[in-house]
Symmetry: C2
Amino acid sequence: MSKSATSKQNHVLELLDLFRQFGYDGATLSKISQSTGLGKASLYHHFPGGKDEMVETVLTTLEQGLQQLTLEALQTEGDALTRLQKMCDRLNKAYDSGQKPCLLAALMLGSAKDMFQGRVSKLLQVWIEAIAAVLIDAGMDETLARQRGEDGVILVQGALILAQGLDDPAPFRRIIQQLPETLCRPA
Amino acid sequence: MSKSATSKQNHVLELLDLFRQFGYDGATLSKISQSTGLGKASLYHHFPGGKDEMVETVLTTLEQGLQQLTLEALQTEGDALTRLQKMCDRLNKAYDSGQKPCLLAALMLGSAKDMFQGRVSKLLQVWIEAIAAVLIDAGMDETLARQRGEDGVILVQGALILAQGLDDPAPFRRIIQQLPETLCRPA
DNA sequence: GTCTATAAAAAGATAGAC
DNA sequence: GTCTATCTTTTTATAGAC
């Protein structure tokens, strides 16, 4: 990978952080310029489409990360509990133990909702299907497994909201810790 | 109640809708002016503190509604399942069957987070305690009941995020429908 | 690829008439 | 209590030098 490519990837990670903490409307070019260390004109050089293109780029990175997580989950050795445990480890890291919000939730607010609804919906469906695939592979009924996939996403998203709202990561940590068993529990 | 008081209350409800759908940064004075039918100068007449004061007013209305819901829940006749069912009916209405986001989640994004964190945290705690009180009253262990209070808020918030993200209210409706039994389930 | 400078548009806020 | 008009600041976006 070339030097400029990794540098651009670092900028994308900073953009992810900004958009998920401030949302689309709150992440102003001034904040973005400050965080990345790039002048506004430089930002438009890398992203001619402005904030829209920045978010699109971040979403592409997220899609790739989610696909990787999905593949890993099914390639991991062991039973469903072990596989889900590994997914939870990744989630815990991605959300900094509940201290950082989810970009997908942030993008469903304000003017961003109409712009990115399609890609956000797709990402959520992939995530749900990733959880369901593990459970189906472990012998769970497909309908129940997909409902459990929804439950997994719901619990993670809800725990993130509560952790942000209470300014306390404890609820997120508890949900993540209980998640594998919660999802595997018989109906 | 005087005519102007109910008129002001209607404006507060429109403000609630704007802030929860667009967030603090996305709810511009132009949008607010358009939705309320009041000119910008009139808005500053009613809320000299600008958007900050508007949000504060909305939060006060929300606090009153939550206190009322809490009291009603404990005064309702019947067992815990019946009481929680009534709470779910209220939530279903408040969130328009999952079609409208939660203000508390919206306020945890962007510049609003630092401004309103304290009041949001307090509201969430009252909500959690309201659920726990019903369960404790039904004989549940206090520690478990408070955890279930957290679970209730987490499930509602997460279901709202998923419903917004998928642009489909079905997950919210399912979670709400299952919530009373989910919360009452033995450990 | 980055910068300074600048322009154009939008947002927040106020003055003063009615 | 509401309006028009105005002002200030911020935001988005671009031009052009290096």
